[in-house]
Symmetry: C2
Subunit: 674 residues, 2 copies
């Protein structure tokens, strides 16, 4: 939130330029006035958020669950919007329209010099103004004041939200359901996008027939709407799940899907915008343009993914091979800067910063987190938690405000009705068929009530809004923006508010210990000891259904974790012999201690595989020598904290554990199926 | 740092406007290119900071103390500046100069409409450009790219730095030396400002004589320079003091002075800018204009102080009377928003946001901090610590960069030499005479070596830079900016680097336990028991020298603390009888428990006064009932943490303790001297 709110400040700042000169008092006064006005606007938002926080405290205090803070933020935003819109019918002395000047030929440049009686002023492009609006500039000046640059949402507000989502993904349930989550996110979003896009195209055609369409609305616009509205954001539902300790798998499915489909929706919408058929026959199907779009999708997605992962890996290496953990402030600073640089790096390379930030967050949680000092793990978690909280509530309260202060709303009842039907069908054709397919391969089936809950939890939120507000230049985009806004309002209030009744109506169990397996299987150690034929069979099934994931898992455990973190088996034991020197150079001294510990006969109990996992880290010796008396880095404390955290994740599943122990080829040298 | 760095992002964002229209591909491409360029620039800064962090870790790791992170950040900034300046002699395809258009009459407005073949584009004022520079726009385009709006420093980077300073002021040594600190800050800064201003006016006159001055340089400009360069920033020195545990009183004097004189310098410089004599005879002395300036100083300072204190008080009340501490995230969010709203509120009312933020920080530390949950106290501390760290290093690395990339440097050897002499004399005439005066009243004299150290620690830093870069429109201001930059470089590197040798050369003791008094006086409890005539005499001396402070202290302890926090004596015992209902309404239930505890005979040992201070808060009962199982608010933990923290501050001094116990009229009903 800091950044975003600061932003308006910046806009203010740019009004109060030094270069205006002390002499030119009129300009200075105006700049000062504008700065003051901007302060007031920003203050309005801050007070709104403060009010939201206080009210939500009251609700939480009284255990009221039908309204989430985001829903509340929207309501307060709406109220302020109404006041701004109708409370100030006569705007005061500000309504002089700005001076205008002409240039013979375009295009518009981002800078412009203005010569006023020999003095030169530099102006920067703010945007194109609809020629209809020029005459309204006077009346709308006040309303336009509270309007942010739409890119602010994308470049400043979304990154902390998305990073936090990625950074808090480190849950065993997430990895257990990774395949299903990716299926819902990629396949499901694509299905949803095309279903909604095509249905909306039908609606648009209908509107054309009945004469309700007053400007162009292309098929690509419909697809674009399908893409942006496919980004689900069940923040309300998840908050209630969290509070009531609902089923962990369902939580992971919903959270994972919503995080991933945000990324897919962003890239999908840019690919659709990149779909520009050549020649005069625009907006008709063109195979080469289509494949170009597909290429753009794959390119941007994989590029952004790689950027994010690379930055995460670099951070992990830096935190592993330096002793920055002795100085938590430096460590946190580095972590923050590196995570942010992902965004900039991706944007600078033409990829999508927000997607990069998501994968950077996941990588940071998976590797770097293990190298941080306890102090820093807490700091980073809390820092991003606060940023995420503020950014999210800011976006939602801005949404409320936008309903009344946005200048170019186009409310089309047919389009809106059609959109509601379309998103319902799109969601249904995403969840039910895919769940059926997934259940063919899953051992823990996604039950009917889970599917209904996922269907129900298809709320739309910050991402859909940010994508819709990014471009509101054309008629079609304005209609899309208005409709998106209404869909967000409706789903957050109605579906969000109905979560608790829905949970009980669907008989979804709550009050589950999140660290516990839904079916606590006693066969975990039997499998490890290799004496359970049933488990062997299960393992086969699992293997066939998710061999790719398992291969990755082995690779991650045997090579990536040891290289990037202080945990995992020593590389010398997993790498081929000729890599010896490299292995010993990359292996953390602590990893050897893990191994010693492992071979300690006292420790070879049922917990063996956990001990050999990332969990076992020496609490004494080598690692402690770097920290002076003043730094307060507590080696025991750190490892204590890390151990439980890690053990939780490591627990994953009995099959994965078996794989794990095979992969390492140290504990149970049975034949390797891969 | 988030905000500031984000800022450039914003500048980028505003280039990539939606309204440019999909059609206008050329504009869009340019906007995209500009966005990409901005990402690259910001990335440069982030990588710079990352490099700084890694290097400084290496230095800390090796216990190298001659270079502080801020000094290092400047060096890296310099290097990048050199590369940007000389590494790209031939700028590429970007050097088309912007189009220009004319308006017949001024003044320049903050918005401008541009009509390009029927399409309207909105432009915002970026600033005036020197007519000399118009022809350089092409060559300098690249350098100008990395230039931030100067208001960014003031509105985005300074607030977190200053707030953190205020928020971490809660030290017993600070309060013990409050009188001296305020004297140095107000009187000392004024002395320094006028000494430097007058000396520099002499230098300017000299330059005029020898023909080295090529444009106007008024007396007010000299005074302005005196004001901005009087803001000391001994961040390097304080870091070393902290690390070596140097004397607590000296630390408090230096830190307190530097924090306070920042506020004074800001307001002083705005008052000097407000000095605008009427009539033709400008820039000569005009009594009415002078008194107007003094009025402006007093008005802005007290207004900003009041805004800051008021926001702090409101936050304290909100955190006291709600049970927000059950939800640390909400609490931290509220704290952050309220603290930030101070800045905006002050700016909106025409006061100085940065000054408000400072006093808000102090108020928050003094009152609100006591109401927060342990979790939130840590979160808020750490949040602002990280922000402060990043912002500070960003400013310093920007300073390094600015030396080579700023376009309008005016290096005048005479002025620079004169300035170095002037700041030396100004500092000397601030420290030595005031120390002499203060020592007349102080029981713990400020010794000679302390005075020399304070003299030596007159480093200039972020505040001087931010004030200097704010206005670089005129010749005089450009020369001031260049000189300020050089002074910052010199003092940070030379004085900062020389701190450790200086400490040993001046025989200032290090390795002091910060919680311990320099002269641990055994008379603390004798005084409390009223049987020590010597202590009584001491108390009188103290009383005469600082009665104002003591009156405030009593008032604070008896009324403000009980009203605003959960600590202090119950109001019913300090307010007159007829205020009974009000008192019981305002008193926290915990305060009564404190009283019960106090009357518990088992507790009436030597620690009595501490028990009755803010330290004693019930660990059981009433306060614990609000928090559900999920929130993890640990009543015991909180009070445990709070107790030691509070006890530390409460320890203050034996005289204050005596006063305290008298003021409450509960423990020792001896005659009240007030």
């Amino acid at each position: 939130m800091i950044p975003m709110l600061m932003m308006m400040k910046v806009m203010a700042a740019s009004g109060q330029e030094d270069a205006a000169g002390l002499e030119d008092l009129a300009t200075e006064k105006e700049a000062e006035e504008s700065h003051r006005q901007d302060s007031v606007n920003l203050l309005t938002f801050i007070l709104l958020l403060t009010l939201t926080i206080l009210t939500i405290w009251l609700f939480k205090h009284r255990r009221v669950r039908f309204l989430h803070e985001t829903g509340l933020a929207m309501i307060y935003g709406l109220l302020v919007g109404v006041i701004l819109r109708y409370g100030n019918p006569a705007t005061s002395h500000h309504n002089r329209s700005p001076p205008s000047c002409s240039l013979a030929k375009g295009p518009a440049r981002s800078s412009l010099l203005l010569n006023i009686s020999g003095k030169f002023f530099e102006y920067t492009l703010k945007g194109e103004i609809d020629s209809r609006d020029i005459h309204n500039v006077e009346q709308n000046d006040m309303l336009r004041k509270v309007t942010f640059d739409p890119e602010v949402f994308f470049n400043i507000l979304l990154p902390p939200i998305i990073f936090h989502a990625g950074y808090s993904l480190k849950k065993k349930h997430f990895f257990r359901n990774l395949g299903s989550i990716l299926t819902y996110a990629f396949l499901g979003t694509a299905v949803s996008c095309f279903v909604i896009g095509n249905l909306m195209y039908g609606v648009v055609k209908l509107m054309q027939v009945v004469g309700q369409l007053s400007d162009k609305f292309y098929y690509t616009d419909c697809l674009f709407f399908g893409a942006i509205i496919s980004a689900t954001d069940p923040v309300t539902v998840l908050a209630i799940f969290n509070e009531l300790h609902a089923d962990g798998d369902l939580y992971a499915l919903l959270f994972g899907e919503s995080v991933m489909n945000d990324a897919v929706a962003i890239v999908l919408s840019s690919s659709i915008m990149a779909y520009q058929p050549r020649g005069a026959n625009t907006h008709m199907f063109d195979a080469s343009a289509f494949f170009k779009s597909v290429g753009v999708f794959l390119g941007i997605f994989s590029g952004s993914f790689m950027m994010g992962a690379a930055t995460g890996v670099v951070t992990a290496l830096v935190t592993k091979f330096t002793k920055l953990h002795c100085f938590p402030l430096l460590e946190t600073g580095l972590f923050f800067l590196m995570s942010w640089s992902t965004f900039l790096l991706a944007e600078a390379c033409g990829f999508t910063g927000v997607v990069s930030v998501l994968f950077c967050g996941i990588t940071q949680a998976h590797y770097t987190y293990n190298n941080l000092s306890v102090e820093s793990t807490k700091r980073t978690k809390q820092l991003f938690e606060v940023l995420h909280f503020l950014a999210e509530n800011f976006i939602f309260s801005y949404m409320g405000l936008a309903l009344f202060t946005f200048q170019n709303h186009i409310f089309s009842p047919i389009f809106i009705t059609g959109a509601f039907v379309a998103i319902f069908l799109g969601r249904a054709l995403n969840i039910y068929p895919l769940s059926f397919l997934l259940n063919l391969g899953r051992r823990h089936k996604i039950k009917g009530n889970f599917q209904h809950m996922m269907m129900f939890a298809g709320l739309r939120g910050a991402m859909a809004f940010a994508l819709a507000i990014r471009d509101t230049a054309t008629y079609a985009r304005q209609m899309i923006f208005t409709t998106t806004l209404l869909i967000v309002f409706f789903t957050v209030w109605v579906f969000g508010g109905g979560t608790t009744p829905m949970l009980s109506w669907l008989h979804i169990r709550v009050g589950v210990d999140p660290d516990q397996d839904p079916q606590p299987s006693a066969d975990t150690f039997q499998v490890l000891q290799g004496d359970a034929p049933r488990a062997e069979g299960q393992s086969k099934t699992k293997q066939e259904s998710a061999w790719l994931f398992r291969m990755w898992y082995t690779f991650d455990h045997n090579y990536l974790k040891p290289i990037l973190t202080h945990s995992g088996p020593p590389l010398a034991s997993t790498l081929p012999g000729y890599c010896g020197p490299l292995a010993s150079c990359l292996t953390s001294p602590r990893a050897y201690e893990n191994q010693e510990q492992l071979r300690d006969p006292d420790r070879s109990d049922g917990d063996l595989s956990f001990t050999f996992g990332d969990a076992a880290i020496a609490t004494n010796g080598l690692s402690g020598d770097c920290c002076g008396g003043t730094t307060g880095w507590n080696s025991n404390g750190k490892r204590g904290g890390s151990t439980s955290e890690e053990a939780l994740e490591r627990e994953l599943d009995s099959r994965e554990q078996e794989l794990l122990s095979r992969g390492t080829r140290l504990v149970f040298p049975i034949e390797d199926p891969i």
